[in-house]
């Protein structure tokens, strides 16, 4: 079996991201999974145990002094070194901003095929790699492949629920240095991922989203209250983000995150086509909107024509009463 590399996302403080299990499961489905990590010197090998538990047979622990000062380059260099050490059929990275930059530049550098935003991967009978994509907000399911040679694949975070069989990983370390002149330099990093007890939007099973109908940042708290009553993640429409009710990272839709939860509750959201493009593959959609003609009702399994400020507090009370 050929090797398949998975670039493990690490937080600035070196913790393994929750994208790692899905990436390693995808890698294991295509070959022998090699986890590639990039850390500061001296600490690379400590992740071997954890990554083995997630299915990595080999950990290629690249260490670089330039991590945190040169943007993206250490990761690209590490993957190039790893693929030289372990000839592979595919390199998997997360479809994040960093991941796409890394994948794009690496594909050019290695003259490899590039497959973007896969929601699933599998091996075809002729052992080529088939990637599944959800296009135009899930209106189409497209399968793609790379003809000839190495494939660099970005995988949508949260899309792969499979898990690989735990393994005992062999750890190989390597020292990486890069040509800083060809890359941007990092001046500072602000780790604003606030410690939140709420699930992350991209892999939450319940999402409560609020729109311009909430009317103000103060009122938007209602969305958060319902989310907390349900153990849900908080999302928003672009209009709510533009109005400053909540951070852009919460935006669901065409130019925000695409989500596919079990339950999606839209509060004061009209359901513009660009919003629906980000949530219409949810299993069950609930909408509360005071306009009976709002297009969100066209995709809602349960729609309430009403005022969020009346319906939602009543709903929260009913949920809390039930919990007691």
């Amino acid at each position: 079996m050929t090797h398949v590399l998975a670039l493990i996302d690490l937080s600035p403080s070196g913790e393994i991201s929750n994208t790692a299990p899905g990436l390693l499961a995808a890698a294991a489905a295509l070959g022998t999974p090699v986890a590639v990590t990039v850390t500061a010197p001296g600490v690379g090998s400590v992740l071997g145990g954890q990554l083995g538990a997630l299915g990595a047979e080999i950990v290629f622990a690249a260490e670089s002094e330039q991590l945190g000062s040169v943007l993206i380059a250490p990761q690209i260099e590490a993957l190039a070194a790893a693929v030289a050490a372990y000839p592979s059929s595919a390199i998997l990275v997360s479809n994040t901003s960093d991941g796409r930059d890394i994948a794009g530049r690496l594909a050019v550098r290695l003259n490899a095929g590039l497959v973007i935003d896969a929601v699933a991967v599998r091996q075809a009978d002729d052992s080529s790699i088939l990637a599944t994509h959800s296009v135009f907000g899930g209106a189409y399911i497209v399968e793609s492949t790379v003809t000839g040679g190495l494939a660099v694949v970005t995988v949508r975070p949260g899309a792969i629920d499979d898990r690989a069989t735990p393994a005992t990983a062999t750890v190989a370390t390597a020292t990486i240095s890069v040509d800083a002149a060809r890359f941007a330099a990092i001046d500072s990093i602000a780790d604003t991922a606030v410690e939140s007890s709420r699930p992350e939007l991209r892999d939450a099973s319940i999402i409560v989203s609020g729109g311009r109908g909430l009317g103000s940042k103060e009122n938007f708290v209602l969305v958060e209250q319902l989310a907390d009553a349900l153990g849900a993640a908080v999302g928003a429409s672009r209009a709510a983000v533009d109005a400053g009710y909540i951070a852009q990272t919460a935006q669901v839709g065409q130019t925000g995150i695409t989500v596919s939860p079990n339950l999606y509750i839209a509060l004061g959201i009209s359901g513009a086509i660009q919003h629906r493009a980000g949530m219409q593959t949810a299993k069950t959609i609930v909408a509360i909107n005071k306009d009976a003609d709002a297009p969100i009702f066209d995709v809602a399994d349960f729609g309430i024509v009403g005022d969020v400020f009346k319906v939602v507090p009543q709903l929260i009370d009913a949920i809390n009463a039930r919990a007691k």
């Binding site: 937080s11 600035p12 943007l71 997360s94 901003s97 960093d98 796409r100 930059d101 794009g104 530049r105 050019v108 550098r109 003259n111 095929g113 590039l114 973007i116 296009v135 135009f136 209106a139 189409y140 497209v142 399968e143 793609s144 790379v146 000839g148 190495l150 002149a181 060809r182 890359f183 941007a184 330099a185 990092i186 001046d187 990093i189 602000a190 604003t192 991922a193 990272t249 065409q254 130019t255 079990n262 339950l263 086509i273 660009q274 219409q280 593959t281 609930v286 509360i288 009702f297 066209d298 995709v299 024509v305 009403g306 005022d307 319906v311 709903l315 929260i316 009913a318 949920i319 039930r322």
Partner: protein
């Protein structure tokens, strides 16, 4: 300073966008073609800089079919100085690899100090082309910028990451991409529309760019569509008008469906 702005023509997101299920390609005839909103914002970044700094030249570039002329004319009427249209039958269905290779050739030929693009298109949603152009040219790139500062030798800004934000800079020439955190574009005014007609719009083929046929320019591994299936459209469920009890009814619906 010479700024090249990359704009993509896409199916209007306000329409029902369709794929041709036999080719997997976007069905361009089915929806109106517009400049991707993020491309207009990219142009706005360049025009704002030109308004502030005398001697700035703004060139809009787009690759695509004949209809792209309209998009480029709009860019010119918004204020760009000139336009370049890459038009070649060999580019139909081009993947990110080929697209970036061709656009890199345009950038190299233009002598740009900075290339500004949108972070991702609304049709492909790839978000990889700017970084790939930079790699083809051996240049630094800064992508997914929420704000941009351009000085004579440098570009800087902040970008969102998975865990927060970071501040970074790159020496020029460089390639950047911007997010919708940057302002919406201005509208073309009457004067702009009138003068746009006189501004240069150059049409280039692969041969003009010194590139061989598309098939040989593409990377080793081309990504190709194997199958395209349309998912059945969602249908509306029940809709009730709140008569004072809808919150309780909704809780019952969620419990009955084992959703909570």
């Amino acid at each position: 300073m010479k700024i090249v702005v990359l704009m993509k023509q896409v199916p209007d997101t306000w329409g029902e966008r369709t794929l041709d299920v036999t080719t997997g390609l976007s069905d361009r005839a089915a929806t109106d073609a517009v400049i991707d909103e993020i491309g207009e914002r990219a142009l706005e970044v360049a025009l704002t800089h030109r308004d502030a700094v005398k001697g700035t030249e703004v060139v809009v570039v787009s690759m695509g079919p004949a209809s792209v002329t309209a998009a480029l004319r709009k860019g010119l009427s918004m204020g760009a100085d000139s336009a370049i249209h890459v038009l070649d039958d060999g580019l139909v269905g081009a993947d990110a690899w080929l697209t970036s290779k061709v656009l890199a050739a345009v950038v190299a030929r233009s002598g740009a100090d900075v290339v500004v693009a949108g972070n991702e298109s609304t049709d492909g949603r790839g978000g990889v082309v700017p970084a790939m152009i930079a790699e083809h040219l051996g240049l630094p790139h800064l992508s997914f910028l929420n704000d941009v500062t351009l000085t004579p030798g440098e570009v800087s800004g902040s970008r969102s990451t998975d865990t927060g934000t970071l501040q970074a800079h790159a020496a020029l020439p460089a390639v950047i991409s911007i997010t919708e955190g940057l302002p919406e574009a201005r509208f073309p005014n009457f004067k702009g529309i009138m003068t746009a007609k006189k501004k240069p719009l150059e049409v280039l083929s692969l041969a003009d760019l010194g590139l061989a046929a598309a098939s040989t320019v593409a990377g080793n591994g081309r990504s190709v569509v194997v199958s395209t299936v349309q998912r059945p459209a969602r249908t509306a469920g029940t809709k009730t008008i709140d008569e004072g009890n809808a919150g309780v009814e909704l809780a019952e619906f969620l419990v009955a469906g084992r959703l909570i």
